[in-house]
């Protein structure tokens, strides 16, 4: 999933195309991105047709205590948008180191046993209410990056 910031909110003086942290609209957009995934996690835990999988006998036989469990990684940064594929199959896709970081965050949700991981860069541009519900759980140097990255999560009780 991609949320695009308005061009005027992007500070392009440095090479990294950062979001101005004082911009209300961008703060709201960041909030909404997080809210969208909070809602997704809540719905996965609520909808009967998803909960049904954890009662599927064939599934339980292969994987004891099976339940649908999804992890989400959220990050902010530049990306190259374009059509990827061949004349037979075209996909809109995004390529950049930042996209890769999101994927790594997503993979790391398993390691930390959380539903959502948010990068420090994204956490910084959230509005205060949303910053208040985040919890710093680690500071790590990820492959391909020289600066340590903060990992935040939101505590969500799964049934």
């Amino acid at each position: 999933m991609v949320w695009k910031f308005p061009r005027v909110d992007i500070d392009s003086f440095d090479d990294e195309l950062t979001i101005r942290p004082d911009n209300r609209f961008s703060n709201n957009l960041a909030d909404l991105a997080l809210l969208g995934f909070l809602k997704t996690v809540a719905k996965i835990n609520k909808y009967a047709h998803i909960l049904e999988y954890s009662r599927n006998e064939a599934m339980l036989e292969r994987i004891p205590n099976y339940k649908v469990n999804m992890g989400f990684g959220l990050h902010v940064g530049w990306g190259i948008e374009g059509a990827i594929g061949s004349p037979y199959k075209i996909d809109a896709s995004y390529l950049s180191p930042n996209v890769n970081i999101s994927a790594r965050l997503e993979a790391a949700t398993r390691q930390y046993g959380v539903s959502i991981l948010i990068s420090g860069e994204l956490q910084e541009i959230l509005n205060e209410t949303f910053q208040d519900i985040t919890r710093l759980i680690d500071i790590v140097t990820v492959k391909g990056s020289a600066v340590p990255m903060k990992f935040y999560t939101v505590n969500l009780k799964l049934d």
Binding site: R24, F25, N28, D31, L32, L35, L38, K39, V41, A42, K43, N45, K46, Q111, Y112, G113, V114, N127, T129, F130, I133, R135, L136, I137, D138, I139, T153, V154, N155, L156, K157, L158
Partner: protein, 99 residues
């Protein structure tokens, strides 16, 4: 109602909400607080209780500043307060495997 009619209704509602947020008529804070499912999931999480938060914060500070021996003692206390906490379990495991 046809699915395309439903779709355009949804996209109208989305546009409307976007305008309201843009003009500060609705805040993102309101959208969060009015979502009972999310609020319930946060309120029921034991790691959101004040005692856990306090202990966790002091343990985490020590962990980051490199005082791991002290950090792990407090992290273990956090684990007692909420044995299901994923991050605490991961950090305890990490510190133990590097000592």
């Amino acid at each position: 109602m046809t699915s395309s009619a439903k779709k355009s209704l949804r996209s109208e509602a989305k546009k409307d909400l976007k305008t309201k947020i843009y003009n500060d008529i609705i805040t993102t804070e309101y959208l969060l607080k009015e979502d009972d499912d999310i609020m319930k999931m946060m309120n029921e999480h034991k790691s959101n209780e004040p005692e856990f938060k306090r202990e966790y914060l002091s343990a985490f500070k020590k962990y980051i500043s490199g005082e791991w021996e002290e950090a792990i003692l407090i992290f273990r206390k956090c684990r007692e307060l909420n044995p299901e906490d994923g991050p605490v379990r991961t950090l305890i495991h990490y510190v133990e495997s590097h000592n």
